[in-house]
Subunit: 232 residues, 2 copies
Amino acid sequence: MESRYAKINVSVDNVIFGWDGEHLNILLIEQKRAPKNVHLSPRLAIPGDLVLVEEGLDDAANRILKELTKLEGIYLRQFEAFGDPSRVKEEKDQDWLKAFREDPDAHVITVAYFSLVRMDLVNPEASSFASNTLWVEMHNIPDLAFDHNRIIDKALRRLRQNVEQKSIGFELLPEKFTLTQIQSLYEAILDKKLDKRNFRKSIKKLDTIIPLNEKQVGVTHKPGQLFEYKPS
Amino acid sequence: MESRYAKINVSVDNVIFGWDGEHLNILLIEQKRAPKNVHLSPRLAIPGDLVLVEEGLDDAANRILKELTKLEGIYLRQFEAFGDPSRVKEEKDQDWLKAFREDPDAHVITVAYFSLVRMDLVNPEASSFASNTLWVEMHNIPDLAFDHNRIIDKALRRLRQNVEQKSIGFELLPEKFTLTQIQSLYEAILDKKLDKRNFRKSIKKLDTIIPLNEKQVGVTHKPGQLFEYKPS
DNA sequence: AAACTTAGTGTAAAAAATACACTTACTAAA
DNA sequence: TTTAGTAAGTGTATTTTTTACACTAAGTTT
């Protein structure tokens, strides 16, 4: 039956941020190649998948995250839906769509999430929708599939907003961390230097960051006090 | 062909805020009744519609707004997508779905927008998806269809955030307005009293609000200076 | 013991936010 | 034409928040 309404595919895409102590990274997947293109170098994309029957958006985002990282209970935040029909019309993406989508010409709207994970907990591996996964430094993100560069850009903006308000970001750190480690992370996310004393003052005001009676070990200088994050 | 992926319906819902000089209002529609239910009092809903073939999300939101109000170029902001399958499973909504949707059991995700319009420019009237439209004061919103009460709640939160930063809201006012009028509006949106002198100071700092050489007319007291809003 | 490295700390100045009360300009009623 | 009523318009002092800034302490390595 013909209809004026679109048979729309809905997908969820997930911008997964990770922190290696020095740089902000993003988890990308290598798209599986269409048979005719197996000889080409794979295109990178942010992980995502179509939403399943009777699956909620948050559930889909969690499923993708879990399939890729085996992690559950991770910080996940929906930030925007992208639905311009042109987003799946670019030439570069046609082969992939024809090879892997039941309806390659369908209008696809995607609901974008970002999440924060500790890089050391993730062992990137292949999954049902990725032939390979890898961490890429924020500053080295290449041209990605569809409008994924734009989606990352929006995700980063939102992350920065939240970080400016000091409401999130601690999820990226190991269980126990020093104030200097938080500061490095914030500086990487915001891409600017922060004043040490003022930064410490502001973090110590948060009652979600609690001081431990422990010191950093294994460093070749004065060890810092350790703190932990207790989400409120 | 059976598929593990959902045949999902995508709709756009629009929380349309209006200001009558005293209260914040929301434009609601009376849902058309299923034939078997024409005798029942109509259920109210926020305006929305399924996204059309090859239509972008912003386009759909604008289409809905225009069909309902005849207005174009209105402030419109996407704020969240709602996609829990249970949102279209409530008993109260089944008759309507069966009567007006090709696939009443489909999972429907909706992308929600809010917009700000001048109430005096709107002449609510029937449209293709509404048998009637009406303004309802924010504080008197009844039980609505689907999860629309929740959507309004989220829209109001977002509006408040933006208003606290003084970045929006002026779209609700007539072309020329006094500082006191802005203040009343802000007080209604934020649901709290503001200090007159401090409020004026803060508004006068904005270079999007420009003073005119004109005074209010037709009031029975000292007339206020008029200002206009020039979006940057 | 000396050199190196990062941790850790306080104060003063500037900027932003808040609290607060009287005079002015106009209309309507006496 | 005076009086009463109504909202407009205005400045300062106080508190809070934000910023700028430099040295000592605790550990490790040579």
